[in-house]
Subunit: 328 residues, 2 copies
DNA sequence: CTGAAAGCGCTTACAG
DNA sequence: CTGAAAGCGCTTACAG
């Protein structure tokens, strides 16, 4: 059985208070006593019970990172940034998924306040639940999503700006027939990216043609089908701005099957800079959001809130960058 | 401030025991009382303090998954499998990284026994530490690593079998000059994969040529450099078995720069089936280990151990499969 | 410098 | 069916 503070006290012939002081490095006891206690503790293989400690101390010194399901390639850089900042602050980071919904670990850990703060990478928690949970003692940071509520902070990708940059780059490369391959209409990201696309066309003096705006579903397979159909009816766009890289992969596959060359026959620009985009033939020109920095920013916002700062911006927008490769 | 059981008891005008019974659904109290208590609890927004609960109950009902750093694409499927099995068992799954080493969350959570069991996806914990932590109450499952110790179970990829299959497939395709591009010599995976390669050549009656065995470092960049040098000195292997997919990506890049065609000039087979391998040109033929099943297997092993079964195999080997694409 | 004691928020025999 | 009380393993005023 596991040794408790009592066992150590008995064995060391001191009181449990003394053991506690020794273990926690308080300077109230003599160095001699401390050393003695530490030796006994080591011998007994003693480690303090985390739950008892937390029960007294009230705070958990842990930050939760909650997401839908295990990280795809996109999330891992965000998580790395968060991890770095959280560690630096001396907190622990525990990741929980929402697999199982209301019975998921993420749900439970948030509801039971097993963490002092949380960073949320999913939209499976509904706004209402998050609003009801957030408090001064449990601030929340949501990524890529806007919730207007005290103690909830949003970090947003600059979807609009990224799409604007991508579309402008396409037009500058000399084409005027620029298609937009989008995600689901009700997707927040998609809406913003579409706005950026339209704004950039306007900016460049290219009229918007609504036939060029294709609705799809953000998946490789969906894009493959959509583009295959388009190609097979004889339409070969000069250029396509794909609202995410996954779909750009689908465009590539459909084009390759029909011997259409990228970028010669069709120029393609993506969004997200997923790992695959660097190794396609040709490598995909895309918009990168700075995941790592976004993670750092999320964690820092949280710690500011935890410190009680109340002049924190409720919304931060993370800049994007055009990654020029060979598909444009 | 957060409501406690006392607040609920006072407000509901019952004892705290009654509140506890009501909340936990024990059938010792009248339905009427229960409903009353539940209503008050809801009104007060009461949720039980997890730490206090755990302190009494002794076990955490949580499983830890510990890894080096945030999941690359390989790990996420394993995590998915683990998550599914853990959820099914009614446990929580918390993921912690080893970022920060001795001060990392993973280290702390294991040492402080914040979990009832753990699945370990890293070799940053040394064998000795794991051996000292493992017990009947805290069994451990290590992936892709062998530790001989009670209460520690290993789930291994069939590195040998996979390499054997890959190499045999290459020889069967009609070439006899098969190179091996390996990882670091002291890598466990690499050693087993090299053994499989050698065994397959022997099995097919092809003599082993030690000049064909190249040592590299499992990275894209390393492989790119190694192969560039090889090509530039005029050596163009008929075929290469790359001990992982990352390195196969480097081979592709070096070959592409020199207009060497795959598989016409060089056949390439990889190992791991990472996401990128499906979208290269041509798509990479590779060995897949069944990540998801491996995760399920890991979690199930853990729960068997937790239930006190003592006839569990200490080592399980996860089969591999040849994924035939177009690089062979 | 050290110890006896209260208390964190729960659960669970035990008594009635 | 309900309540008073012990106790889980700690921390931390308080007293000496």
């Amino acid at each position: 059985m596991k040794a408790t503070i009592k066992d150590v006290a008995r064995e060391a012939k001191v009181s449990i208070s003394t053991v506690s002081y020794a273990i926690n490095g308080k300077d109230r006891i003599s160095e001699k006593t401390r050393q003695h206690v530490l030796k006994v503790a080591k011998k007994l293989n003693y480690v303090a019970n985390g739950n008892a400690k937390l029960l007294k101390q009230k705070n958990t010194r842990a930050i939760g990172i909650f997401f839908n399901s295990w990280f795809g390639p996109i999330y891992s850089e965000i998580a790395r940034g968060i991890e770095k900042a959280v560690h630096q602050a001396g907190y622990d980071l525990v990741a929980c998924s929402l697999y199982g919904e209301e019975n998921s670990t993420a749900y439970k850990y948030l509801r039971d306040r097993m963490v002092d703060g949380a960073i949320i990478l999913t939209n499976s928690f509904d706004d209402e639940f998050l609003t009801s949970m957030a408090s001064k003692e449990l601030p929340l940071v949501v990524l890529d999503r806007e919730i207007q509520s005290p103690h909830i902070y949003s970090i947003l990708i600059d979807n609009f700006g990224g799409a604007f940059t991508a579309t402008k780059a396409i037009v500058k490369s000399g084409v005027r027939e620029v298609y937009f391959l989008g995600g689901p209409e009700d997707s927040y990201d998609n809406q913003k990216r579409l706005d950026g696309y339209i704004a950039a066309l306007g900016f460049c003096g290219v009229p918007v043609n609504h036939d060029f705006i294709l609705e799809c579903d953000f998946t490789e397979e969906g894009a493959y089908r959509k583009m295959s159909a388009l190609f097979d009816q004889g339409t070969i766009p000069d250029a396509i701005f794909s609202a995410n890289d996954e779909m750009a992969l689908g465009i590539y596959r459909a084009a390759r099957e029909r011997n259409l060359r990228i970028p010669k026959d069709i120029k393609v620009v993506g969004f997200d800079n997923i790992r695959e985009s660097a190794v396609t033939t040709p490598p995909l020109t895309t918009i990168s959001h700075q995941q790592f920095e976004m993670g750092i920013s999320a964690a820092e916002t949280l710690f500011h809130a935890l410190k009680g700062n109340d002049d924190i911006e409720y919304i931060r927008i993370q800049p994007t960058k055009l990654i020029e490769r060979e598909s444009l």
